[in-house]
């Protein structure tokens, strides 16, 4: 007669010290392994794809018989509404989707970590002020704000990266702040202070490394969100018109009526691409969270 009610979940944490050890633990976790493989796949496609099969945006079809054609031996994924090869377009789009997602995450992480550590370490009125601002940004609905900012500031890659990055930091800031707060209670900080170490030194040597693990876990999950955000913004029409991303492919597929015409070869691959890469980061991120934070039971 087995009944698990009264037992607390056993923490299955593997103490992860060092980069290789972390990779190993992610590989050991089944979901983490799948995610890692998906990411590897995406990296290969994004890095090698356009090298082997370069895409020329000006290579449009000669006449109307070449647009929105189903897959053939000449065009493995058919053609788009301008008669271009969808397969090569898909490979080219991978790079921008990933690039924007990762760059935006970088910005968001730097801001979020900075604010989180400052608020958690110095506490007091600075903490209250920073957290009020953070809560405010947490509450503002992200997509409408991104749309508004995109419409006002214009549509180039840098702006999009900044906009997405600026709206993703609150979650990072909150997590890092709570970790910093709990670390601050630890003895070695007060010991170091009594020896006269300056505040900045304490942060750098004692607080930051432990917070790093959590930053990484959170960052991985933020990348997934940023890639989705870029895809959505591009779909809405706010993407950089000079670059192809999976989101913008879907935008053109939609506005050109490819969906209604049943041109599945045009809108299925980019969407699947987004799914694969977002799922990859999500699985790895959750797996890492479980490893880095053994208190998370039943995750």
């Amino acid at each position: 007669m087995t009944f698990e009610l009264s037992a607390n979940e056993e923490a299955t944490a593997v103490p992860a010290s060092g980069f290789l050890a972390m990779l190993r633990s992610i590989w050991a976790d089944r979901l983490g392994r799948i995610g890692f493989i998906l990411l590897l796949l995406t990296a290969v496609v994004a890095l090698l794809g356009p090298l082997v099969f370069p895409f020329n945006p000006a290579d449009v079809g000669v006449d109307s018989s070449t647009i929105l054609q189903p897959p053939s031996s000449a065009h493995w994924l058919g053609t788009d509404e301008l008669g271009r090869d969808v397969f090569r377009e898909f490979l080219a789009g991978a790079r921008i989707s990933l690039f924007v997602g990762i760059m935006a995450t970088l910005i968001s992480t730097i801001i979020g970590a900075g604010i989180g550590i400052a608020a958690g370490y110095f506490m007091g009125p600075l903490d209250t002020a920073l957290m009020s601002a953070t809560d405010f940004f947490l509450v503002i609905p992200a997509l409408p704000l991104m749309i508004a900012m995109g419409a006002i500031f214009g549509q180039n890659l840098l702006i999009i990266i900044l906009v997405i990055g600026l709206l993703s930091w609150p979650r990072t800031a909150r997590i890092i702040r709570s970790q910093t707060l709990s670390l601050r209670q630890r003895q070695y900080v007060s010991r170091a202070k009594s020896l006269g170490a300056s505040d900045a030194r304490i942060i750098r040597r004692n607080v930051a490394p432990h917070v790093m693990q959590l930053i990484v876990a959170n960052t991985i999950l933020v990348v997934a969100g940023c890639i989705l955000a870029e895809a959505t913004l591009s779909f809405i029409g706010l993407g950089d018109p000079d670059r192809i991303s999976w989101g913008s492919m879907l935008h053109f597929a939609f506005v050109s009526g490819a969906v209604g015409l049943g041109a599945w070869w045009y809108f299925l691959p980019p969407g699947l691409g987004i799914l694969v890469v977002v799922l990859g980061f999500t699985l790895v991120g959750h797996s890492f969270e479980r490893i880095a934070n053994p208190r998370l039971k039943g995750h």
Binding site: S6, V139, A224, G260, G262, K297, G298
Partner: protein, 321 residues
Amino acid sequence: MPPLLRRFLVLCASIFAILTFNFFLFHIIPGDPIRLIARSQRLSPEQVAKLREAYGLDGSIFTQYWTYLKNLAHGDLGYSFALHENVADVVGRALLNTLILLTVSTTVVVLLGIVIGVFAGSRHGSKSDSATVVTSLVFWSLPTFWVGMLLVFIFGVWFGGLPISGITTPNAEYQNYFQYIADIARHLILPTLTLALVDIAFFVIITRTSLIEVMSEDYMLTARGKGLSRRTMVWKHATRNALLPVVTASVLYISALVAGAIQVEVVFSWPGMGLLTYNSVLARDYPTLEACFLIISVAVLVANFVADLVYRRLDPRVAVA
């Protein structure tokens, strides 16, 4: 100060902050908002002059701000040159349509999500639990608009039978009110399905995690000791406690819900706030875009407040007043 009153004041302060932020974003940052509008809508000099007056641009920033607040207090959201209507009227209609969509889909998402989450959590460690988690992670990773496109393809091109755009059938004539409602309901199916497929995952995962933690609490052993059936233990005792963190987490969901609704409205041409936002971006209709952003943000703040009220109602440990 009673906590409820304090929470309400925070709401008012947040709304005020959003109003100010909105003003800053649409009136100050672009430099000259009039030029922005004039350029995109090709206005005549007389229209431009009238706009200047309406915006109070002859005065300082503070005058403009004051004019802005005054207009808002009167319900004046500006005029859309692209649509040739008062923005307030346009937004009013769109808001109603969005509310219809959101009410139906949120109900489905929340109820189904919680039920599935409780099922998965109470079978923690089983195959169906793992399968549920993986499926949820996969669906949560899908772009909502893409799911919409897929459904349009499946039901519009392959199978047919379900309306793939709009809120009602064009040029339809109804014998009675019931037929009108039925028509709207049919048009709601695909958009709701799209939102549900992606968003249910959020509630499944949160509910499941919460339930697993609750099941290991001491009072669950008491419930088992009392000889209660497993069903009673899970659905009556565990779930009520597990719902508390879910309500808290739903505050995070609101942002995702809004994003999803915008995408769904665009794909299915549902004439709500999302589609309005999209069209106003295409047409560079800044007054409408500004109003959309403002209304959506305020609605989200109010929704957060309501979620907070719900939490207070559910948890007897938190004071109401």
